[in-house]
């Protein structure tokens, strides 16, 4: 019994570090990392996983079980509990984590959207960039992100250039009582814990029986109505159809 306990005590650090590395690598390989961290942090997770595997190997190579001649260390059970606290929540979270934040969390964070600084997917926010996007393919809807429309709404010249133009974008559709439906996209600065929602209003043909977390592609006309000096970008919808989850579920700076 004592021998088994000594072996467990010896192998526990390497096992826990290897388990962390395995969860990290599995999260990267399965693409779930895209739902957790912004792109700049993902390589750090990969590097950490490799280093943890190296440390695990070094631990086994450089150290050995406590000799039987030594007295059994005190607090062995407590130490075992520490390893469980380090390991069990991680494994549980990796299994239980959903693919996207739910509408419950959305409502806890939703009112902060008015001031969300938009992050353009079209490069620096200059009139020339906007004009280039508009003239790139005049017969096709311009692919934009929700945040592009919010940003355009802050520049009168760019807003004028884009007003009435067909656009195409993806996101979740949400409906709150007494409010028009909205297209939502989460913005992530570092990780999913700090994600905030960005929304634009939808009007027109918005009918459909969509699920809460279903990715949808919306095509329609960009509009920038102003109420009391506040511009609220809107898409007058032509079509809404289900689509696959984008490679990057969150928008990141």
């Amino acid at each position: 019994m004592n021998l088994i306990a000594r072996q467990i005590s010896f192998l526990a650090p390497a096992a826990v570090m290897s388990a962390w590395a395995t969860v990290m690598l599995h999260t990267i390989a399965g693409g779930h990392i895209n739902r957790l961290l912004s792109p700049m942090f993902r390589n750090y997770v990969f590097a950490a996983a490799i280093l943890l595997l190296v440390l695990s190997a070094l631990h086994v190579l450089l150290y050995q079980p406590n000799p039987e001649t030594d007295p059994a260390p005190t607090g062995r059970l407590r130490q075992f509990g520490r390893w469980l606290v380090i390991l069990v929540p991680l494994v549980a979270a990796s299994i239980l984590s959903p693919s996207a934040l739910s509408s419950t969390t959305l409502n806890n964070r939703l009112n902060s959207t008015n001031g969300v600084p938009a992050m353009p997917s079209m490069g620096p926010a200059t009139d020339a960039n906007v004009q280039a996007e508009l003239s790139a393919n005049p017969n096709q809807p311009v692919p934009v992100e929700v945040t592009d429309l919010i940003r355009l709404g802050k520049s009168s010249s760019q807003m004028t250039a884009f007003d009435g133009r067909k656009v195409q974008t993806v996101g979740f559709v949400i409906q709150q009582p007494g409010q028009p439906p909205k297209l939502l996209r989460w913005i992530m600065w570092c990780c999913a814990a700090d994600a905030v929602p960005a929304t634009v209003e939808l009007s027109g043909n918005t009918s459909g029986n969509w699920k809460d977390d279903q990715w949808l592609e919306v095509t329609g006309t960009a509009q920038f109505p102003s109420t009391a000096g506040h511009v609220a970008p809107r898409i007058n919808v032509d079509t809404i159809k289900p689509t696959s989850e984008p490679d990057e579920p969150y928008l990141s700076p």
Partner: protein
Amino acid sequence: MFFAAFDLPSSPVGAGISWPDVALSFFAIVMEGAPFLLLGAIISGLVDVFLPAGVIKDWLPRSKAQGIFAAIGTGLIFPLCECGAMPIVQRLIRKGVPPAVATTYMLAAPGLNPLAMFSTFLAFRNQDPWLMLGLRFGFSFLVILSLGFWLVRLRPDWMLRAETLIGPARIKPEMTPNPGLVLTPRPGQSLGGLQQFTGAVIRDFTGVLLFLVIGAAVAALFSTGFNRNLLAPVGQNFFLGPLAGIFLAQLLCLCSTTDAFIIAAFAPFSIPAKIAFLVAGPLIHLKLYWLYRSAFQARFVHALWLRALAATFLLTLLYSLMHK
């Protein structure tokens, strides 16, 4: 009726909590924090092996006041996140750096570093960025300075956990962040340095990792389940606004390079409320509370918490009154 199938709450204030979202947030926080914690443990291991205690002592200023200014100055230059700082600060203390100086650096590095200032400027670029940058830097500096001069008056044994409080003495297993971890070197190894380095990294990483896991769980619970709209009605109040900013910072547990983007978008908050959020958050919040507990006594962390938040509140309240 459009979207009749949606099961959305009727009121944002009563939104409640989604446990799968808590799991997602927890997973994201530990995935983000663990690499930096490991980096901190590796630097700590390098310090252990390659930096003799005497050298560090020679570098340090002789007077305590100069030491506090030096710690703040180092925090200004070397960007270090909260998670990565903990193993390094503990190692520096074991190498003989006065706890007050090391702790001041730990407080200054996240809040005053150039990356935090740059992100503040970017986040507020449409909302008077120089004012926000100046207020964040100025108030953070004053709060950390006041904490530094409080720290030099404290006895190390009142601040630190017993296992941290060994100064430059030889490190024994029971004096590490993971006191129950027994590492028995294989005999006949000629890799003494590598063995020492590996042992230091494993002890520091796994020791602080426990507190990161606990802190991340608490942070995920509150950052996901707390409805920020509850604070909106008091966000513009000259007295309650700064309190609301401090309170929100404690719950959201954001990194100092991210917090400005989140709070810049929070329209219901006044400038003093936003500044209180930006100053208090990097000093201490629910996740940091647990990380600090890996090195410090509970009574010290509670006192630090109280003083950091009180100083932040007083400064932002003063600003609030001047601009009422």
